[in-house]
């Protein structure tokens, strides 16, 4: 008979594996960490059930304001009942599919443009066609679409209009200003410096006030310029000054040798910047420029103070209706989610772009 050697597989002590080990390593590794864990758990235990109860269990989703008041929980009805006004504002009710379609086109174009492989000439033309169609949908007046005054553009389409056009126009302007500030020509250099420092020296609110309150008083008799356009220009001018300084940082990070190498190849100024300097400089400054773009996107909500009905203002208008007054938390959570979606997709795209660009070099 052969001897059978039995080996029993011993499990490691329970304290070394699984949940307990993880908890020990991550939550209770020292006295202070244990203390923090306990405190955090206590607060979560105090807050989360109440929050869930408020937001989901006791909440009302499609009631009137009065029923909400009786209900006690979160009143999401303020959003569901007023969503079309919050999103589209004054756009004529029966034509609200037009801004909706325009926004869908905009988002599709943005999603397509995310992919760098598609950065070809046809994408440029696609954007031009898209912009034309979006303008047509909003403005109307052609192909049997009734014309809609730009004063009726409000809500989310207005926020997107101000931010998308504001950012796309401000970026090239900012790059030009940064190059101007680096220029050896004194006139261009001093103009750029004065412009950048003046704009950066005043808050955006004051620029918006200037454009909406002061500016019309200086115009000749009877000439009025669209309020949205004035705000748009103010946002572009403001953002461009900040972009310029960020891009200048990138230009200074490029070593002297790169400039000299480009010049020794006989490249002229335009070729040098376009082919050698800017591609490197702009890549370096992706994180700070995205930071500026994100804050510019959020800053568009400041147009509230000059009476434009952007997403924030349509929400506030809904909140001053006595039937819905008092449910500001719910309404603000809703638009906060919209703003978060915008900002988060910008920052996640910038991280992706950074990864791709660095892998390429």
């Amino acid at each position: 008979m052969q001897e059978v050697h039995q080996t029993t597989v011993m499990k490691p002590p329970i304290t070394r594996v699984g949940v307990i080990r993880w908890a020990r390593a991550n939550l209770f590794s020292s006295v202070f960490n244990s203390f923090l864990t306990v405190v955090t758990i206590y607060f979560l235990w105090k807050i989360v059930p109440g929050l869930i109860r408020w937001a989901f269990i006791d909440s009302s989703w499609a009631t009137t304001g009065a029923q909400c008041r009786a209900g006690g929980g979160a009143c999401w009805s303020i959003v569901t009942k007023n969503v079309r006004f919050i999103i589209f504002g004054f756009f004529p009710y029966e034509w609200q599919w037009r801004p909706l379609l325009a926004m869908i086109i905009l988002f599709s174009l943005l999603i397509v443009s995310r992919n760098r492989r598609y950065w070809k000439k046809w994408l440029g033309y696609l954007w031009l066609i898209g912009l034309f169609v979006m303008g047509l949908l909003l403005k109307g007046g052609l192909f049997g679409l009734p014309s809609v005054e730009s004063t009726k553009w409000s809500g989310l389409p207005l926020t997107l209009l101000l931010s998308v056009f504001g950012l796309t126009a401000a970026y090239p302007l900012g790059v030009l200003l940064a190059l101007g500030r680096q220029s050896r020509m004194p006139a261009i250099k001093s103009l750029s410096v004065v412009y950048i420092e003046t704009i950066r020296g005043v808050p955006l609110i004051s620029l918006l006030f200037m454009s909406s309150v002061m500016f019309p008083l200086f115009l000749p008799e009877g000439i009025t310029i669209n309020n949205i356009l004035r705000a748009q220009v103010a946002i572009i001018l403001f953002t461009a000054a900040y972009i310029a300084e960020v891009v200048r940082g990138g230009l200074q990070a490029i070593s002297r040798g790169q400039y000299e190498a480009a010049e020794s190849l006989g490249l002229n100024y335009y070729q040098k910047m376009r082919l050698i300097i800017l591609p490197q400089a702009l890549k370096i400054v992706i994180p700070p420029s995205v930071g500026i773009l994100i804050s510019a996107f959020k800053d568009t909500s400041l147009v509230v103070i000059i009476g434009l009905f952007d997403l924030l203002k349509t929400t506030q208008a809904t909140l001053s209706d006595p039937r819905w007054m008092g449910f500001s938390v719910e309404a603000y959570i809703f638009i906060a989610l919209i703003y978060f979606t915008g900002c988060f997709s910008m920052s996640s795209y910038s991280r992706r772009l950074e990864r791709e660009l660095y892998r390429g070099t």
Binding site: L217, N226, S320, M325
Partner: protein, 340 residues
């Protein structure tokens, strides 16, 4: 590069297209030539001027503007509304961006003189009041010694309440809150004893209380706030049109003519009514308007009573009584000069 040029051209075209050139002459002529009235409104005051959930403008100020459009065009829908903030409203009128301002604006001496504006007939008499909880047991504003008061900053409201407490030798503590909607929240959450604002606004705030019956408006009204449509100095004809449009609303109520019975009233034998409605011509032409102007206003917008009840009256969330805004024959201040 070519793409860049195309973009530049497109931007230039867009800039030119959105820049509307409107050379203004006499206001009535330019309004008629343009084809619609441009009215400055508030946009955030329920019952006065606010969009409903479909984005349609509603309110007492909005109806006043509609009445002006009905008088000028015979069509109350020919209006463009421009929502304006408190800071913007007077410059917008001065810069001729709007034809008339119907934005719960209080008539004051400096606004008429230094700002170069004319206030037409008052379309709402408001005044600042106090809202308190019944639990406080306060019967009069004189008993508010040491109270904390929730108030909006930067308005005449804040100054009025400071003046009132100082004049009566009482101490108070302001709780300043920027947003109207947050004001009532703070008050109901117990952050202050008293909520002060225009009486019409207090009614709206009270309507949002968990239990409206627990709160009372104190009898003292500490300021006069005659709210009226505003036009620029220098165009008397336009001022007359706006002024007499408001008076026509009041006179129609006095005659008992409303949007329902105005067609029947055309056959009224009373010569005053016949002149009023343009059956005997003359009054419209004197203003530079169609002789049917009053008929159009009443038919499309209604008389003052209809406008009041529809927007701020007892059956609305605001639940305002006529009070000072009643006809002079019923103890109010609404009094129209004779139409002759």
């Amino acid at each position: 590069m070519r793409l860049l040029k195309v973009c530049a051209v497109l931007v230039a075209v867009a800039l030119i297209a959105t820049t509307s050139l409107a050379i203004a002459g006499e206001t009535l002529d330019s309004v008629k030539k343009r084809g619609y009235l441009i009215a400055g409104v508030n946009g955030g005051v329920f019952g006065f001027s606010m969009p409903d959930e479909k984005g349609v403008w509603k309110g007492l100020d909005v109806d006043t503007a509609r009445a002006i459009a009905a008088a000028v065009f015979g069509d109350a829908t020919k209006i463009k509304y421009v929502p304006l903030t408190a800071v913007q409203r007077l410059p917008a009128l001065q810069a001729k961006e709007i034809d008339v301002l119907c934005r719960n604006t209080t008539q004051t001496l400096t606004r008429e003189t230094a700002n170069g504006l004319n206030f037409a007939h008052v379309n709402y008499y408001d005044g600042q009041g106090f809202l308190v909880s019944k639990k406080l047991g306060v019967k009069s504003a004189r008993e508010l010694q040491g109270a904390t008061v929730c108030v909006l900053p930067g308005t005449t409201t804040e100054m009025n309440v400071a003046d009132y407490f100082r004049a009566n030798g009482m101490k108070w503590k302001p709780v300043v809150i920027e947003q109207t909607a947050e004001l009532s929240k703070a008050y109901f959450a117990g952050r202050c004893d008293v909520l002060t604002s225009d009486a019409s606004q207090l009614a709206a705030h009270r309507a949002t209380a968990p239990n409206p019956a627990e709160h009372v408006l104190l009898p003292e009204i500490i300021s006069k706030e005659p709210l009226a449509p505003v036009v620029r100095h220098g165009d008397d004809q336009w001022y007359d049109i706006v002024n007499w449009t408001v008076m026509a609303l009041i006179q129609a109520e006095e005659f008992g003519i409303n949007s329902q019975n105005v067609d029947k009233a055309l056959r009224d034998p009373n010569p005053e009514v016949q002149r009023f409605l343009g059956v005997i011509p003359g009054l419209g032409a004197a203003l530079g308007l169609d002789d049917k102007w009053v008929y159009n206003i009443i038919k499309q917008v209604g008389n003052y009573s209809e406008i009041f009840e529809r927007n701020v009256g007892v059956n609305t969330p605001l639940g305002m009584e006529r009070g000072l805004n009643g006809l002079w024959t019923k103890g109010g201040l609404m009094y129209a000069a004779p139409f002759r």
